[in-house]
Protein backbone atom coordinates (compact mmCIF):
# COMPACT_ATOMS: atom_id res chain seq x y z
CA UNK A 1 0.00 0.00 0.00
CA UNK A 2 2.43 2.70 1.08
CA UNK A 3 -0.30 5.31 1.38
CA UNK A 4 -1.99 6.29 3.61
CA UNK A 5 -0.38 3.46 5.64
CA UNK A 6 2.95 1.66 5.28
CA UNK A 7 2.77 -1.64 3.43
CA UNK A 8 1.69 -4.61 5.51
CA UNK A 9 4.33 -7.31 5.77
CA UNK A 10 2.08 -9.80 3.99
CA UNK A 11 1.56 -7.60 0.98
CA UNK A 12 3.55 -8.23 -2.20
CA UNK A 13 4.24 -4.80 -3.58
CA UNK A 14 5.03 -4.83 -7.27
CA UNK A 15 2.77 -2.09 -8.60
CA UNK A 16 2.19 -0.28 -5.33
CA UNK A 17 5.84 -0.23 -4.26
CA UNK A 18 6.16 3.54 -4.66
CA UNK A 19 2.83 4.69 -3.28
CA UNK A 20 3.47 7.60 -0.94
CA UNK A 21 6.91 8.23 -2.48
CA UNK A 22 6.56 11.68 -4.02
CA UNK A 23 9.87 11.48 -5.86
CA UNK A 24 8.65 8.53 -7.93
CA UNK A 25 6.22 10.90 -9.65
CA UNK A 26 8.96 12.71 -11.53
CA UNK A 27 10.83 11.40 -14.54
CA UNK A 28 14.20 11.49 -12.78
CA UNK A 29 12.79 9.78 -9.71
CA UNK A 30 11.05 7.16 -11.82
CA UNK A 31 14.21 6.41 -13.81
CA UNK A 32 16.17 6.06 -10.57
CA UNK A 33 13.69 3.38 -9.56
CA UNK A 34 14.24 1.43 -12.76
CA UNK A 35 11.58 3.17 -14.80
CA UNK A 36 11.46 2.91 -18.61
CA UNK A 37 13.86 -0.04 -18.64
CA UNK A 38 10.94 -2.27 -19.60
CA UNK A 39 10.00 0.03 -22.47
CA UNK A 40 13.58 0.05 -23.70
CA UNK A 41 13.59 -3.73 -23.63
CA UNK A 42 10.20 -3.87 -25.36
CA UNK A 43 11.29 -1.60 -28.20
CA UNK A 44 14.15 -4.00 -28.90
CA UNK A 45 11.73 -6.94 -29.21
CA UNK A 46 9.30 -7.93 -31.94
CA UNK A 47 5.70 -6.95 -31.05
CA UNK A 48 4.58 -10.57 -31.42
CA UNK A 49 7.17 -11.65 -28.85
CA UNK A 50 5.86 -9.12 -26.34
CA UNK A 51 2.34 -10.44 -26.85
CA UNK A 52 3.63 -13.96 -26.29
CA UNK A 53 5.36 -13.09 -23.03
CA UNK A 54 2.19 -11.42 -21.74
CA UNK A 55 0.12 -14.40 -22.88
CA UNK A 56 2.51 -16.78 -21.18
CA UNK A 57 2.40 -14.77 -17.92
CA UNK A 58 -1.33 -15.39 -17.53
CA UNK A 59 -2.06 -11.69 -16.96
CA UNK A 60 -5.79 -11.04 -17.07
CA UNK A 61 -7.67 -7.76 -17.39
CA UNK A 62 -7.81 -5.92 -14.08
CA UNK A 63 -10.78 -3.73 -14.96
CA UNK A 64 -13.45 -6.25 -14.08
CA UNK A 65 -13.99 -8.86 -16.77
CA UNK A 66 -10.68 -10.69 -16.32
CA UNK A 67 -10.13 -11.34 -20.03
CA UNK A 68 -6.62 -12.66 -20.80
CA UNK A 69 -4.56 -9.62 -21.84
CA UNK A 70 -2.15 -11.38 -24.17
CA UNK A 71 -5.05 -12.89 -26.08
CA UNK A 72 -6.73 -9.49 -26.35
CA UNK A 73 -3.53 -8.02 -27.76
CA UNK A 74 -3.20 -10.90 -30.24
CA UNK A 75 -6.55 -9.97 -31.82
CA UNK A 76 -4.87 -6.89 -33.31
CA UNK A 77 -3.69 -8.03 -36.71
CA UNK A 78 -0.39 -6.45 -37.72
CA UNK A 79 0.05 -5.10 -41.24
CA UNK A 80 -3.63 -4.57 -42.04
CA UNK A 81 -2.80 -1.09 -43.31
CA UNK A 82 -5.09 0.62 -40.80
CA UNK A 83 -4.07 2.83 -37.90
CA UNK A 84 -4.41 0.96 -34.61
CA UNK A 85 -5.29 2.59 -31.29
CA UNK A 86 -4.72 1.77 -27.66
CA UNK A 87 -7.16 3.16 -25.13
CA UNK A 88 -6.32 3.08 -21.47
CA UNK A 89 -9.48 2.92 -19.40
CA UNK A 90 -8.87 5.24 -16.45
CA UNK A 91 -12.54 6.10 -16.01
CA UNK A 92 -12.53 4.29 -12.68
CA UNK A 93 -16.06 4.87 -11.36
CA UNK A 94 -17.16 1.57 -9.92
CA UNK A 95 -18.26 2.29 -6.34
CA UNK A 96 -15.66 0.84 -4.00
CA UNK A 97 -12.83 1.00 -6.53
CA UNK A 98 -9.99 3.52 -6.26
CA UNK A 99 -6.85 1.56 -7.12
CA UNK A 100 -6.28 3.24 -10.49
CA UNK A 101 -6.49 6.63 -8.82
CA UNK A 102 -3.64 5.64 -6.49
CA UNK A 103 -1.61 4.19 -9.38
CA UNK A 104 -1.95 7.39 -11.40
CA UNK A 105 -1.37 9.84 -8.58
CA UNK A 106 1.75 8.09 -7.28
CA UNK A 107 3.27 6.40 -10.32
CA UNK A 108 2.11 8.33 -13.40
CA UNK A 109 5.21 7.38 -15.38
CA UNK A 110 4.41 3.70 -14.85
CA UNK A 111 1.23 4.23 -16.83
CA UNK A 112 2.98 6.20 -19.60
CA UNK A 113 5.42 3.31 -19.84
CA UNK A 114 2.64 0.71 -19.81
CA UNK A 115 0.76 2.58 -22.54
CA UNK A 116 3.87 2.84 -24.70
CA UNK A 117 4.58 -0.89 -24.32
CA UNK A 118 0.96 -1.79 -25.05
CA UNK A 119 0.79 0.51 -28.06
CA UNK A 120 3.97 -0.92 -29.52
CA UNK A 121 2.80 -4.49 -28.92
CA UNK A 122 -0.48 -4.00 -30.80
CA UNK A 123 1.01 -1.92 -33.61
CA UNK A 124 -0.55 1.36 -32.53
CA UNK A 125 1.09 4.75 -32.84
CA UNK A 126 -1.39 6.49 -30.55
CA UNK A 127 -2.55 5.70 -27.05
CA UNK A 128 -5.30 7.62 -25.30
CA UNK A 129 -5.62 7.64 -21.53
CA UNK A 130 -9.27 8.35 -20.76
CA UNK A 131 -9.40 9.68 -17.19
CA UNK A 132 -12.66 10.55 -15.46
CA UNK A 133 -13.16 14.28 -14.99
CA UNK A 134 -13.42 14.11 -11.21
CA UNK A 135 -9.84 12.83 -10.89
CA UNK A 136 -8.19 16.25 -10.80
CA UNK A 137 -5.07 15.08 -9.03
CA UNK A 138 -4.40 11.99 -11.20
CA UNK A 139 -5.12 14.16 -14.27
CA UNK A 140 -2.53 16.68 -13.15
CA UNK A 141 0.16 14.06 -12.54
CA UNK A 142 -0.59 12.17 -15.75
CA UNK A 143 -0.37 15.35 -17.81
CA UNK A 144 2.92 16.23 -16.15
CA UNK A 145 4.31 12.75 -16.78
CA UNK A 146 3.27 12.78 -20.45
CA UNK A 147 4.86 16.21 -20.89
CA UNK A 148 8.10 15.07 -19.25
CA UNK A 149 8.18 11.88 -21.32
CA UNK A 150 7.71 13.85 -24.55
CA UNK A 151 10.42 16.33 -23.59
CA UNK A 152 12.84 13.48 -22.87
CA UNK A 153 12.06 11.76 -26.18
CA UNK A 154 10.73 8.67 -24.42
CA UNK A 155 7.50 8.97 -26.38
CA UNK A 156 6.83 10.93 -29.55
CA UNK A 157 8.07 10.71 -33.12
CA UNK A 158 11.08 8.59 -32.28
CA UNK A 159 10.34 6.82 -29.02
CA UNK A 160 13.62 6.22 -27.13
CA UNK A 161 15.53 6.45 -30.40
CA UNK A 162 13.85 3.32 -31.77
CA UNK A 163 12.50 5.01 -34.87
CA UNK A 164 8.97 4.07 -33.75
CA UNK A 165 6.30 6.70 -33.27
CA UNK A 166 4.31 6.39 -30.03
CA UNK A 167 2.03 9.21 -28.99
CA UNK A 168 0.29 9.22 -25.62
CA UNK A 169 -2.54 11.66 -24.96
CA UNK A 170 -4.56 12.28 -21.80
CA UNK A 171 -8.28 12.72 -22.42
CA UNK A 172 -10.48 14.09 -19.64
CA UNK A 173 -13.96 12.66 -19.21
CA UNK A 174 -16.89 14.71 -18.00
CA UNK A 175 -18.76 12.70 -15.43
CA UNK A 176 -20.44 9.50 -16.59
CA UNK A 177 -19.99 6.07 -15.00
CA UNK A 178 -21.04 4.40 -18.22
CA UNK A 179 -17.95 5.73 -20.02
CA UNK A 180 -16.01 3.04 -18.20
CA UNK A 181 -17.78 0.54 -20.49
CA UNK A 182 -15.34 0.09 -23.35
CA UNK A 183 -17.60 0.98 -26.28
CA UNK A 184 -19.11 3.93 -24.41
CA UNK A 185 -15.59 5.11 -23.68
CA UNK A 186 -14.79 5.01 -27.39
CA UNK A 187 -17.91 7.00 -28.21
CA UNK A 188 -17.03 9.55 -25.56
CA UNK A 189 -13.48 9.81 -26.85
CA UNK A 190 -14.84 10.52 -30.32
CA UNK A 191 -16.88 13.43 -28.96
CA UNK A 192 -20.22 11.64 -28.73
CA UNK A 193 -22.69 10.90 -25.98
CA UNK A 194 -21.35 8.00 -23.94
CA UNK A 195 -23.83 5.38 -25.13
CA UNK A 196 -22.45 1.84 -25.36
CA UNK A 197 -22.33 0.34 -28.85
CA UNK A 198 -23.74 -2.99 -29.92
CA UNK A 199 -21.11 -5.71 -30.21
CA UNK A 200 -20.09 -7.07 -32.66
CA UNK A 201 -18.17 -5.44 -34.20
CA UNK A 202 -15.71 -5.82 -31.35
CA UNK A 203 -13.16 -3.08 -30.71
CA UNK A 204 -10.33 -5.12 -32.22
CA UNK A 205 -12.20 -4.94 -35.55
CA UNK A 206 -13.83 -1.54 -35.35
CA UNK A 207 -13.09 0.52 -32.29
CA UNK A 208 -12.32 4.16 -31.75
CA UNK A 209 -12.61 6.19 -34.98
CA UNK A 210 -13.74 2.96 -36.65
CA UNK A 211 -10.24 1.49 -36.42
CA UNK A 212 -8.87 -1.62 -34.66
CA UNK A 213 -8.59 -0.74 -30.98
CA UNK A 214 -7.55 -2.39 -27.75
CA UNK A 215 -8.85 -1.14 -24.43
CA UNK A 216 -6.99 -2.02 -21.25
CA UNK A 217 -7.38 -1.02 -17.63
CA UNK A 218 -4.71 1.12 -15.93
CA UNK A 219 -3.53 -1.70 -13.66
CA UNK A 220 -3.29 -4.16 -16.58
CA UNK A 221 -1.05 -1.88 -18.63
CA UNK A 222 1.16 -1.04 -15.66
CA UNK A 223 1.57 -4.76 -14.89
CA UNK A 224 2.93 -5.39 -18.38
CA UNK A 225 6.21 -3.59 -17.61
CA UNK A 226 7.47 -5.78 -14.73
CA UNK A 227 6.33 -8.86 -16.67
CA UNK A 228 8.56 -7.93 -19.59
CA UNK A 229 11.48 -7.16 -17.29
CA UNK A 230 11.27 -10.20 -15.06
CA UNK A 231 9.72 -12.74 -17.40
CA UNK A 232 6.48 -14.66 -17.57
CA UNK A 233 7.63 -17.35 -15.12
CA UNK A 234 8.31 -14.82 -12.39
CA UNK A 235 4.77 -13.51 -12.76
CA UNK A 236 3.17 -16.94 -12.93
CA UNK A 237 4.85 -18.00 -9.71
CA UNK A 238 3.09 -15.23 -7.82
CA UNK A 239 -0.06 -17.20 -7.21
CA UNK A 240 -1.17 -19.15 -4.19
CA UNK A 241 -3.99 -20.96 -5.84
CA UNK A 242 -4.45 -21.97 -9.42
CA UNK A 243 -2.64 -21.36 -12.69
CA UNK A 244 -5.60 -19.42 -14.12
CA UNK A 245 -5.09 -16.44 -11.82
CA UNK A 246 -1.51 -15.22 -11.72
CA UNK A 247 0.44 -12.27 -10.39
CA UNK A 248 -0.47 -9.65 -7.87
CA UNK A 249 -3.74 -7.74 -7.67
CA UNK A 250 -4.56 -4.40 -6.13
CA UNK A 251 -7.60 -4.44 -3.87
CA UNK A 252 -9.05 -1.14 -2.76
CA UNK A 253 -10.81 -1.55 0.55
CA UNK A 254 -13.46 0.80 1.86
CA UNK A 255 -16.47 0.88 4.15
CA UNK A 256 -16.53 -0.13 7.80
CA UNK A 257 -12.95 -1.33 8.33
CA UNK A 258 -10.16 -0.08 10.55
CA UNK A 259 -7.65 0.53 7.75
CA UNK A 260 -9.20 1.29 4.39
CA UNK A 261 -6.79 1.70 1.49
CA UNK A 262 -5.28 -0.02 -1.54
CA UNK A 263 -3.59 -3.35 -0.80
CA UNK A 264 -1.55 -5.49 -3.15
CA UNK A 265 -1.55 -9.22 -2.59
CA UNK A 266 -0.76 -12.27 -4.69
CA UNK A 267 -3.66 -14.04 -6.33
CA UNK A 268 -5.21 -16.65 -4.09
CA UNK A 269 -4.56 -14.83 -0.80
CA UNK A 270 -7.04 -15.91 1.90
CA UNK A 271 -9.78 -13.27 2.11
CA UNK A 272 -10.38 -13.89 5.80
CA UNK A 273 -6.84 -12.95 6.76
CA UNK A 274 -6.96 -10.07 4.33
CA UNK A 275 -10.00 -8.56 6.03
CA UNK A 276 -9.06 -9.21 9.64
CA UNK A 277 -5.28 -8.86 9.52
CA UNK A 278 -4.27 -6.54 6.66
CA UNK A 279 -7.34 -4.32 6.85
CA UNK A 280 -7.40 -4.38 10.64
CA UNK A 281 -10.83 -5.95 11.09
CA UNK A 282 -14.05 -4.19 12.09
CA UNK A 283 -14.42 -1.09 14.23
CA UNK A 284 -14.25 -1.69 17.95
CA UNK A 285 -17.38 -3.39 19.21
CA UNK A 286 -18.77 -4.14 15.78
CA UNK A 287 -18.85 -7.17 13.51
CA UNK A 288 -18.61 -7.52 9.76
CA UNK A 289 -21.95 -8.44 8.23
CA UNK A 290 -21.36 -8.59 4.48
CA UNK A 291 -18.77 -7.86 1.81
CA UNK A 292 -19.15 -6.68 -1.76
CA UNK A 293 -15.77 -7.82 -3.04
CA UNK A 294 -15.48 -6.46 -6.59
CA UNK A 295 -17.18 -3.10 -6.82
CA UNK A 296 -20.89 -2.40 -6.44
CA UNK A 297 -21.96 -4.56 -9.39
CA UNK A 298 -20.96 -7.98 -8.09
CA UNK A 299 -23.05 -10.25 -5.83
CA UNK A 300 -22.95 -9.50 -2.11
CA UNK A 301 -21.16 -12.10 0.02
CA UNK A 302 -22.19 -13.16 3.48
CA UNK A 303 -19.28 -13.34 5.95
CA UNK A 304 -19.44 -17.11 5.80
CA UNK A 305 -18.78 -16.96 2.08
CA UNK A 306 -16.20 -14.21 2.34
CA UNK A 307 -14.18 -15.98 5.02
CA UNK A 308 -13.96 -19.10 2.87
CA UNK A 309 -12.80 -17.19 -0.21
CA UNK A 310 -9.42 -17.34 -1.88
CA UNK A 311 -8.81 -14.01 -3.57
CA UNK A 312 -8.60 -14.75 -7.27
CA UNK A 313 -10.92 -14.84 -10.29
CA UNK A 314 -12.10 -18.39 -9.60
CA UNK A 315 -12.02 -18.10 -5.82
CA UNK A 316 -14.62 -15.35 -5.65
CA UNK A 317 -16.88 -17.16 -8.13
CA UNK A 318 -16.69 -20.32 -6.02
CA UNK A 319 -18.01 -18.32 -3.06
CA UNK A 320 -20.98 -16.71 -4.77
CA UNK A 321 -19.45 -13.52 -6.11
CA UNK A 322 -16.85 -12.14 -8.53
CA UNK A 323 -13.44 -10.51 -8.31
CA UNK A 324 -14.62 -7.67 -10.53
CA UNK A 325 -12.48 -4.58 -10.21
CA UNK A 326 -11.12 -5.46 -6.77
CA UNK A 327 -13.11 -2.78 -4.98
CA UNK A 328 -13.90 -4.36 -1.61
CA UNK A 329 -16.83 -2.73 0.21
CA UNK A 330 -17.06 -3.96 3.79
CA UNK A 331 -20.37 -3.58 5.58
CA UNK A 332 -20.71 -3.99 9.33
CA UNK A 333 -23.64 -4.89 11.56
CA UNK A 334 -24.60 -1.26 12.14
CA UNK A 335 -25.69 -0.84 8.52
CA UNK A 336 -29.19 -1.77 7.38
CA UNK A 337 -28.70 -3.86 4.21
CA UNK A 338 -31.82 -2.45 2.57
CA UNK A 339 -30.42 1.07 2.81
CA UNK A 340 -27.10 -0.06 1.36
CA UNK A 341 -28.72 -1.90 -1.54
CA UNK A 342 -31.20 0.90 -2.23
CA UNK A 343 -28.31 3.34 -2.47
CA UNK A 344 -26.50 1.06 -4.92
CA UNK A 345 -29.66 0.86 -7.04
CA UNK A 346 -29.97 4.65 -6.96
CA UNK A 347 -26.42 4.88 -8.26
CA UNK A 348 -27.24 2.70 -11.25
CA UNK A 349 -30.51 4.53 -11.91
CA UNK A 350 -28.56 7.80 -12.00
CA UNK A 351 -25.86 6.39 -14.26
CA UNK A 352 -28.02 4.50 -16.75
CA UNK A 353 -27.48 6.01 -20.20
CA UNK A 354 -31.19 5.37 -20.87
CA UNK A 355 -30.57 3.72 -24.21
CA UNK A 356 -32.23 0.39 -23.38
CA UNK A 357 -35.72 0.25 -21.91
CA UNK A 358 -34.97 -2.61 -19.49
CA UNK A 359 -32.19 -0.60 -17.91
CA UNK A 360 -33.75 2.87 -17.95
CA UNK A 361 -37.04 1.67 -16.46
CA UNK A 362 -35.66 -1.24 -14.45
CA UNK A 363 -33.06 0.72 -12.52
CA UNK A 364 -35.57 3.48 -11.73
CA UNK A 365 -38.30 1.11 -10.57
CA UNK A 366 -35.89 -1.01 -8.57
CA UNK A 367 -34.73 2.13 -6.75
CA UNK A 368 -38.27 3.33 -6.05
CA UNK A 369 -39.37 -0.02 -4.65
CA UNK A 370 -36.25 -0.46 -2.54
CA UNK A 371 -36.57 3.01 -1.08
CA UNK A 372 -40.21 2.29 -0.30
CA UNK A 373 -39.20 -0.81 1.62
CA UNK A 374 -36.39 1.10 3.33
CA UNK A 375 -38.91 3.68 4.51
CA UNK A 376 -41.15 1.00 5.99
CA UNK A 377 -43.82 1.25 3.31
CA UNK A 378 -43.08 -1.94 1.39
CA UNK A 379 -45.18 -5.07 0.98
CA UNK A 380 -44.17 -8.72 0.69
CA UNK A 381 -45.21 -8.60 -2.95
CA UNK A 382 -42.54 -5.98 -3.54
CA UNK A 383 -39.84 -8.60 -3.03
CA UNK A 384 -41.27 -10.75 -5.80
CA UNK A 385 -41.64 -7.69 -8.02
CA UNK A 386 -37.99 -6.80 -7.43
CA UNK A 387 -36.84 -10.28 -8.37
CA UNK A 388 -39.08 -10.23 -11.43
CA UNK A 389 -37.73 -6.87 -12.57
CA UNK A 390 -34.20 -8.10 -11.95
CA UNK A 391 -34.81 -11.07 -14.21
CA UNK A 392 -36.08 -8.79 -16.97
CA UNK A 393 -32.98 -6.63 -16.56
CA UNK A 394 -30.48 -9.45 -16.94
CA UNK A 395 -28.89 -10.36 -20.26
CA UNK A 396 -31.25 -8.27 -22.36
CA UNK A 397 -29.42 -5.00 -22.89
CA UNK A 398 -26.56 -3.57 -24.97
CA UNK A 399 -24.15 -3.36 -22.03
CA UNK A 400 -24.09 -4.87 -18.55
CA UNK A 401 -25.07 -1.81 -16.48
CA UNK A 402 -28.58 -3.20 -16.23
CA UNK A 403 -27.29 -6.59 -15.05
CA UNK A 404 -25.00 -4.81 -12.61
CA UNK A 405 -27.97 -3.21 -10.91
CA UNK A 406 -29.88 -6.48 -10.75
CA UNK A 407 -27.02 -8.48 -9.24
CA UNK A 408 -26.72 -6.82 -5.81
CA UNK A 409 -30.51 -6.65 -5.52
CA UNK A 410 -31.00 -10.36 -6.19
CA UNK A 411 -28.07 -11.45 -4.01
CA UNK A 412 -29.19 -9.04 -1.29
CA UNK A 413 -32.72 -10.42 -1.19
CA UNK A 414 -31.46 -14.00 -1.30
CA UNK A 415 -28.89 -13.62 1.43
CA UNK A 416 -30.47 -10.99 3.71
CA UNK A 417 -34.17 -11.62 3.17
CA UNK A 418 -34.81 -11.39 6.88
CA UNK A 419 -33.89 -7.71 6.96
CA UNK A 420 -36.23 -6.93 4.07
CA UNK A 421 -39.09 -8.82 5.71
CA UNK A 422 -38.50 -7.17 9.07
CA UNK A 423 -38.84 -3.73 7.53
CA UNK A 424 -41.95 -4.73 5.61
CA UNK A 425 -43.55 -6.17 8.73
CA UNK A 426 -42.91 -2.97 10.61
CA UNK A 427 -40.01 -4.25 12.67
CA UNK A 428 -37.41 -1.57 12.14
CA UNK A 429 -33.76 -2.40 11.81
CA UNK A 430 -31.97 -1.61 15.05
CA UNK A 431 -28.36 -0.84 14.31
CA UNK A 432 -25.63 -1.74 16.74
CA UNK A 433 -24.69 1.45 18.51
CA UNK A 434 -21.34 0.50 20.00
CA UNK A 435 -18.62 3.14 19.97
CA UNK A 436 -16.42 3.45 16.91
CA UNK A 437 -12.73 3.02 17.63
Amino acid sequence: MGFPHLPHSRETTVLSKYFGDAEARTLDGWKKRGGYKALEKALGMQPADIVNVVKESGLRGRGGAGFPTGMKWSFMKPGDGKPHYLCCNADESEPGTFKDRELMRWTPHALVEGCAIGAYAIGAETAYIYIRGEFTEPLYWMEQAVKEAYAAGIIGKNAMGSGKRIDVHVHKGAGAYICGEETALMNSLEGRRGNPRIKPPFPAVSGVFGMPTTINNVETLIAAAPILLNGADWYKKMSLSNPKSTGTKLFSVCGNVQRPGTYEVVMGFPFKEFLYDLCGGPYHGRKFKAVIPGGASVPIQTMEEAEATLMDYEGFVAQGSMLGSGGVIVIDDAQPMVTVIARIARFFAHESCAQCTQCREGTAWTTKILERIRDGEGTMEDLDTLLDIAEQMTGKTICVLSDSCAVPVVSGIQKFRGEFEALIQGRRFHPVTAAVA
Binding site: P4, R25, T26, P83, E92, S93, E94, P95, G96, T97, F98, R101, R132, G133, E134, F135, T136, E137, Y140, Q144, D167, H169, H171, K172, G173, A174, G175, A176, Y177, S188, L189, E190, G191, R192, R193, G194, F209, S252, V253, C254, G255, N256, P260, G261, T262, A296, G327, I329, I331, D332, Q335, T339, V340, R343, I344, F347, H350, E351, C353
Partner: protein
Protein backbone atom coordinates in the same frame (compact mmCIF):
# COMPACT_ATOMS: atom_id res chain seq x y z
CA UNK B 1 8.16 19.24 -8.95
CA UNK B 2 5.54 20.75 -6.68
CA UNK B 3 1.81 20.23 -7.11
CA UNK B 4 -0.17 23.14 -8.49
CA UNK B 5 -1.61 25.45 -5.84
CA UNK B 6 -5.20 24.33 -6.26
CA UNK B 7 -4.24 20.80 -5.25
CA UNK B 8 -2.37 21.51 -2.08
CA UNK B 9 -3.17 24.86 -0.61
CA UNK B 10 -5.64 27.67 -1.23
CA UNK B 11 -8.51 27.40 -3.61
CA UNK B 12 -7.43 29.28 -6.69
CA UNK B 13 -10.06 28.50 -9.25
CA UNK B 14 -11.89 30.10 -12.14
CA UNK B 15 -13.56 33.34 -11.17
CA UNK B 16 -17.18 32.40 -10.75
CA UNK B 17 -18.23 35.72 -9.25
CA UNK B 18 -19.66 37.14 -12.44
CA UNK B 19 -21.87 34.18 -13.29
CA UNK B 20 -25.24 35.73 -12.88
CA UNK B 21 -24.15 38.85 -14.66
CA UNK B 22 -22.55 36.79 -17.41
CA UNK B 23 -25.86 35.09 -18.07
CA UNK B 24 -27.36 38.39 -19.21
CA UNK B 25 -24.45 40.02 -20.98
CA UNK B 26 -23.54 39.86 -24.68
CA UNK B 27 -21.50 36.74 -25.42
CA UNK B 28 -17.76 37.16 -25.67
CA UNK B 29 -15.96 34.52 -27.70
CA UNK B 30 -13.86 32.10 -25.64
CA UNK B 31 -11.51 30.83 -28.32
CA UNK B 32 -9.27 33.77 -29.09
CA UNK B 33 -5.51 34.23 -28.66
CA UNK B 34 -3.94 31.68 -26.33
CA UNK B 35 -7.14 29.72 -25.86
CA UNK B 36 -7.47 29.30 -29.62
CA UNK B 37 -3.89 28.05 -29.76
CA UNK B 38 -4.70 25.59 -26.99
CA UNK B 39 -7.61 24.23 -29.01
CA UNK B 40 -5.51 23.98 -32.18
CA UNK B 41 -2.96 21.94 -30.30
CA UNK B 42 -5.70 19.68 -28.97
CA UNK B 43 -7.02 19.10 -32.48
CA UNK B 44 -3.61 17.63 -33.33
CA UNK B 45 -4.24 14.81 -30.82
CA UNK B 46 -7.11 13.29 -32.78
CA UNK B 47 -7.72 12.13 -36.35
CA UNK B 48 -11.17 13.77 -36.31
CA UNK B 49 -12.15 17.25 -35.21
CA UNK B 50 -15.20 16.06 -33.33
CA UNK B 51 -13.02 14.22 -30.81
CA UNK B 52 -11.91 17.58 -29.42
CA UNK B 53 -15.48 18.30 -28.33
CA UNK B 54 -15.17 17.27 -24.69
CA UNK B 55 -11.85 19.09 -24.20
CA UNK B 56 -13.25 22.20 -25.95
CA UNK B 57 -16.26 22.23 -23.64
CA UNK B 58 -13.92 21.92 -20.67
CA UNK B 59 -12.10 25.03 -21.88
CA UNK B 60 -15.39 26.94 -22.16
CA UNK B 61 -16.30 25.94 -18.61
CA UNK B 62 -12.85 26.85 -17.31
CA UNK B 63 -13.02 30.31 -18.89
CA UNK B 64 -16.67 31.12 -18.17
CA UNK B 65 -17.55 28.95 -15.18
CA UNK B 66 -20.34 27.24 -17.10
CA UNK B 67 -21.35 26.20 -20.62
CA UNK B 68 -23.96 28.54 -22.07
CA UNK B 69 -25.97 28.03 -25.25
CA UNK B 70 -23.77 30.63 -26.93
CA UNK B 71 -20.70 28.72 -25.80
CA UNK B 72 -22.13 25.58 -27.40
CA UNK B 73 -22.71 27.47 -30.65
CA UNK B 74 -19.12 28.73 -30.66
CA UNK B 75 -17.75 25.23 -30.09
CA UNK B 76 -20.09 23.81 -32.74
CA UNK B 77 -18.82 26.31 -35.33
CA UNK B 78 -15.20 25.60 -34.56
CA UNK B 79 -15.59 21.82 -34.74
CA UNK B 80 -17.99 21.85 -37.71
CA UNK B 81 -20.88 20.37 -35.73
CA UNK B 82 -24.43 21.56 -35.22
CA UNK B 83 -25.35 23.37 -31.98
CA UNK B 84 -28.05 20.76 -31.39
CA UNK B 85 -25.47 17.98 -31.54
CA UNK B 86 -23.22 19.80 -29.09
CA UNK B 87 -26.13 20.34 -26.71
CA UNK B 88 -26.93 16.65 -26.93
CA UNK B 89 -23.42 15.86 -25.76
CA UNK B 90 -23.33 18.55 -23.05
CA UNK B 91 -26.55 17.28 -21.51
CA UNK B 92 -25.23 13.71 -21.37
CA UNK B 93 -22.36 14.52 -19.04
CA UNK B 94 -22.94 15.62 -15.48
CA UNK B 95 -19.85 17.78 -15.04
CA UNK B 96 -20.72 20.51 -17.52
CA UNK B 97 -22.74 23.24 -15.81
CA UNK B 98 -25.63 24.26 -18.02
CA UNK B 99 -26.40 27.25 -15.85
CA UNK B 100 -24.31 29.46 -13.60
CA UNK B 101 -23.39 27.96 -10.24
CA UNK B 102 -22.01 29.44 -7.03
CA UNK B 103 -18.45 30.67 -6.81
CA UNK B 104 -17.68 27.45 -4.98
CA UNK B 105 -19.27 24.35 -6.42
CA UNK B 106 -19.28 21.69 -3.70
CA UNK B 107 -19.78 18.04 -4.63
CA UNK B 108 -20.18 15.52 -1.82
CA UNK B 109 -20.00 11.80 -2.60
CA UNK B 110 -22.90 9.89 -1.09
CA UNK B 111 -22.74 6.58 -2.97
CA UNK B 112 -22.93 3.39 -0.86
CA UNK B 113 -19.32 3.09 0.40
CA UNK B 114 -19.36 6.71 1.59
CA UNK B 115 -23.00 6.38 2.60
CA UNK B 116 -22.16 3.68 5.16
CA UNK B 117 -19.39 5.91 6.51
CA UNK B 118 -21.70 8.83 7.22
CA UNK B 119 -21.74 10.89 4.01
CA UNK B 120 -25.33 12.03 4.59
CA UNK B 121 -24.19 13.95 7.67
CA UNK B 122 -21.47 15.65 5.65
CA UNK B 123 -24.05 16.81 3.12
CA UNK B 124 -26.27 18.15 5.89
CA UNK B 125 -23.32 20.00 7.44
CA UNK B 126 -22.47 21.65 4.13
CA UNK B 127 -26.07 22.67 3.52
CA UNK B 128 -26.36 24.13 6.99
CA UNK B 129 -23.05 25.99 7.08
CA UNK B 130 -23.27 27.40 3.55
CA UNK B 131 -26.86 28.63 3.94
CA UNK B 132 -27.59 26.95 0.62
CA UNK B 133 -30.39 25.10 2.40
CA UNK B 134 -31.22 22.82 -0.49
CA UNK B 135 -29.22 20.61 -2.83
CA UNK B 136 -28.44 22.25 -6.16
CA UNK B 137 -29.58 25.68 -5.02
CA UNK B 138 -26.98 28.45 -4.79
CA UNK B 139 -26.68 30.21 -1.43
CA UNK B 140 -28.19 33.72 -1.23
CA UNK B 141 -24.72 35.33 -1.33
CA UNK B 142 -23.94 33.52 -4.60
CA UNK B 143 -20.97 31.77 -3.06
CA UNK B 144 -21.97 28.16 -2.63
CA UNK B 145 -23.79 25.45 -4.56
CA UNK B 146 -23.87 22.04 -2.87
CA UNK B 147 -24.75 18.84 -4.70
CA UNK B 148 -24.62 15.12 -4.00
CA UNK B 149 -22.43 13.34 -6.51
CA UNK B 150 -22.23 9.69 -7.49
CA UNK B 151 -18.98 7.94 -6.55
CA UNK B 152 -15.94 10.21 -6.70
CA UNK B 153 -13.66 7.16 -6.77
CA UNK B 154 -11.94 7.73 -3.45
CA UNK B 155 -14.04 5.35 -1.36
CA UNK B 156 -11.23 4.51 1.05
CA UNK B 157 -11.05 8.17 1.98
CA UNK B 158 -14.69 8.60 2.92
CA UNK B 159 -16.13 11.13 2.56
CA UNK B 160 -14.42 12.75 -0.43
CA UNK B 161 -15.58 16.23 -1.39
CA UNK B 162 -14.77 18.27 -4.48
CA UNK B 163 -14.79 22.04 -4.20
CA UNK B 164 -14.33 23.35 -7.73
CA UNK B 165 -11.13 21.60 -8.88
CA UNK B 166 -9.90 20.82 -5.39
CA UNK B 167 -10.32 17.25 -4.20
CA UNK B 168 -10.52 16.83 -0.43
CA UNK B 169 -10.33 13.41 1.24
CA UNK B 170 -11.75 12.12 4.51
CA UNK B 171 -14.18 14.94 5.27
CA UNK B 172 -16.42 14.56 8.31
CA UNK B 173 -19.11 16.96 9.52
CA UNK B 174 -16.75 18.53 12.09
CA UNK B 175 -14.31 19.56 9.37
CA UNK B 176 -16.92 21.38 7.32
CA UNK B 177 -16.81 24.79 9.07
CA UNK B 178 -13.01 25.05 8.77
CA UNK B 179 -13.12 24.04 5.10
CA UNK B 180 -15.70 26.72 4.43
CA UNK B 181 -13.73 29.32 6.40
CA UNK B 182 -10.98 29.06 3.77
CA UNK B 183 -13.41 29.97 1.01
CA UNK B 184 -13.73 33.72 0.74
Amino acid sequence: MTPPPELIGGLESPDYSSHDRAAHEPYVAVFTGETRKELDELLGHYPKKMAALLPALWIVQRERGWVSEEGMVEVADLLELTPAYVKGVVTFYTMYHQHPVGKYFIQVCTTSPCGICGAEDVVKAFLRHTNAGELGVTSPDGKFTVIEVECLGACGFATPVMINEKFIESVNPDKVPELLAELT
